[in-house]
């Protein structure tokens, strides 16, 4: 069974000190480093006391997955291998998590879709696996370009879903993510999403925690369900397997367990607020126009706000960091003064705008766009143009629009 003494302050085999995560993330000195998003994932994993990482090549996460292989070769990861497909990889991750390991993997686009059957199973089995999703197109014809449509499919799996804007978010959230996921009253998988290429392949200054500090190891005996390692008594789980029963008690069991999974998503709220300092971040919410976005669209929104300021137009910003649990109350509060709510998105269907519309009063205030997809970038000018049109102002015609 788990050691009862604390390991904080002791060293791992690489000489890193197991450090109280709050101190490591909030009090330890930070070193500015110029890294790509993929390299940042590697640096976060170096400090994550990860037991098992399972990899599979798919653009744009391949580099990160391979870099973690280097960490394994250096002795920072317990075990690492390449699986045969994303479906298999996510099942291998499940097997490792059932066996009590802290597990990490990365995927993207079509890989996320191929593996989809696993995700509700992860949540239902209460496996706190962390999966990085470097979003890319899932449409046909084949595309490897950034596009966030796959996030829409993850929202109803029972996983925690966070959407990082920058590499700095990524670094901090990978480490903090385990702290939220592994809470006994949560114990759920986390899909930590970012926009592929924009975050993974661009270099940015990221403030790193000391490389000689690492997270305390995962304790599988804090799980709300037994760890499958034959270290606790194996008892008959149920008299009759519920799968075969068409009766009320069977339905009620399934229903209550699904409700419990979603209640656990809700219970993650308090931990997430503590670690991420809120599910959203806001600026100038007293403005009439507010941009509400997640991921890279937030950065483009910031640029648009700067351009609008030059013209004397004041515009607020809501950065949604966490999609599950959904920050409904926070968004309602932040947008209560807004006459126009602009939701720029990197996908064709506008799933974020739909979520927001379902959350706030007077949802006709929501402008579901501008939207780009298929790998297109989102110049801040199109956000500016959208806002000016809403305000009844003349806008310059944008190239390619033909107007």
């Amino acid at each position: 069974m788990a050691d009862t003494h604390s390991v904080i302050g002791t060293k791992n085999k690489k000489g890193q000190t197991f450090t109280d995560t709050w101190k490591m993330m909030n009090e330890a000195p930070r070193t500015p480093s110029f890294y790509t998003g993929s390299e940042v994932i590697k640096e976060a994993l170096r400090r994550a006391s990860c037991d098992v990482m399972i990899a599979y090549p798919i653009t744009p996460q391949s580099e990160a997955a391979a870099l973690i292989g280097e960490l394994f070769a250096e002795g920072y990861i317990g075990d690492y291998f390449r699986g045969e497909s994303e479906f298999a990889v996510m099942s291998q991750c499940a097997g490792a998590a059932f066996g009590g390991a802290r597990v990490f993997t990365t995927t993207a686009g079509p890989g996320t879709m191929r593996a989809m059957e696993n995700f509700p199973m992860w949540s239902g089995a209460r496996l706190p696996i962390q999966m990085i999703v470097t979003c890319r197109g899932i449409n046909s014809p084949l595309s490897i370009q950034p596009d966030t449509l796959e996030i829409a499919y993850l929202l109803n799996t029972g996983m925690l879903v966070w959407h990082a804007e920058t590499a700095q978010d990524f670094f901090d959230w990978i480490l903090k993510g385990y702290m939220v996921s592994e809470e006994p009253d949560v114990h759920l998988p986390l899909a930590l999403c970012c926009d592929g290429f924009f975050v993974t392949h661009t270099k940015d200054v990221v403030n790193l925690t000391p490389a000689d500090m690492c997270l305390p190891p995962y304790d599988p005996y804090r799980s709300p369900v037994p760890c499958m390692d034959m270290e606790c008594p194996p008892v008959r789980m149920m008299r009759d397997p519920f799968i075969m029963k068409s009766n009320y008690i069977s339905y009620a069991t399934h229903a209550s367990w699904q409700q419990e999974v979603w209640a656990a998503v809700e219970r993650s709220r308090k931990h997430t607020i503590k670690w991420l300092n809120g599910l959203i971040e806001t600026e100038n919410t007293d403005a009439e126009v507010i941009i509400v976005a997640s991921g890279t669209a937030v950065s483009q929104g910031r640029e648009a706000i700067r351009l609008l300021e030059d013209e004397g137009i004041r515009c607020g910003l809501v950065k949604i960091k966490v999609l599950r649990p959904w920050p409904g109350e926070e968004i309602r509060e932040a947008t209560k003064n807004a006459k126009h709510i602009i939701v720029p998105e990197f996908n064709v269907t506008g799933w974020l705008a739909k979520e927001i519309k379902a959350t706030i009063p007077n949802s006709e205030r929501v402008n579901a766009g501008p939207r780009v997809c298929g790998g297109m970038t989102m110049p801040p000018e199109i956000i500016v143009s959208e806002i000016k049109t809403l305000l009844g102002m003349r806008t310059m015609s944008l190239a390619g629009r033909g107007s």
Partner: protein, 301 residues
Amino acid sequence: MSKERIKISEDLYDIMPSDYQDLVKSATYGKEDRGWKDIGNSKELIEQHSLCAGCPESMAFRYILASLPNPEDTVMVGSTGCTSLVFPMVAVHNIHSLFGNQNAIASGLKRALSVRFPGRTKDVVVLAGDGATVDIGLDMTLQAWFRQEKFTTICFDNELYANTGGQESGLMQKGFVAKMAPVGKLFDKVRLPEIARESGCHYVVQCTVSKPSLIEKVVRNAVMIAREIGPTYLQLYTPCILEIGKNSMEGLQEMRDSEKPTERFAYKEYISEPAKQLLAEVAAKDKEKKAAAKQLASQGA
């Protein structure tokens, strides 16, 4: 897990379910020479099952659970199908997650247990039907063998999808008329034992479950070899009496008929060189132990 761990606090003894009390009192955890003969004399590791009366799969389940060399440190992985009706009643940790991903789950599990318990034996045994092993899960079955994952794969071959009502499967015989094979199956029974050998399995056996002593032997061998050397595979004929039109008491005869030398379930075995060496070492040790015991007994007399 030591047997100590399942002991019940005296204060709580009377409120524990009787099957748990039995497990503590008379299960064969930790007994080195446990085997099929314990059935009936000890608490079985399978409490009860909801399979059809006379189902050969239920016999296979009992023999396998009685024969695992190290149940107190064994984790089993199942898949969707008739086997998943039994696993909730099995007294070793077991995992059901999805249909067909059992060898992927077992790969991750075995590696996690190796990372977490270095220097300790933690056996992993997969037990799934032929649909899970050969059709929907074939990719993951083979890839685990290619990677030389150190666990045992057991396939309950009933030559069809039993739990969903008797549809064609890859291990079905050619020509058999079934649901989804309305004019008879058009291609041969997949030759998974041969494929297993070529894929890197160190111990491959195909047989029926008509003889408990044989199942005891092959299960022990398969688990020991998987623990020390690499992947092992057992393909056991467990006919679905319901779907082939037999009565409850006819399962055993069906297996005996099918294991004759010219039939499709004639005993077939492959053992790699390193596995042969290991088995020889184990046999030598057993012999030594028996001789020592005999000597001790004669001295005592």
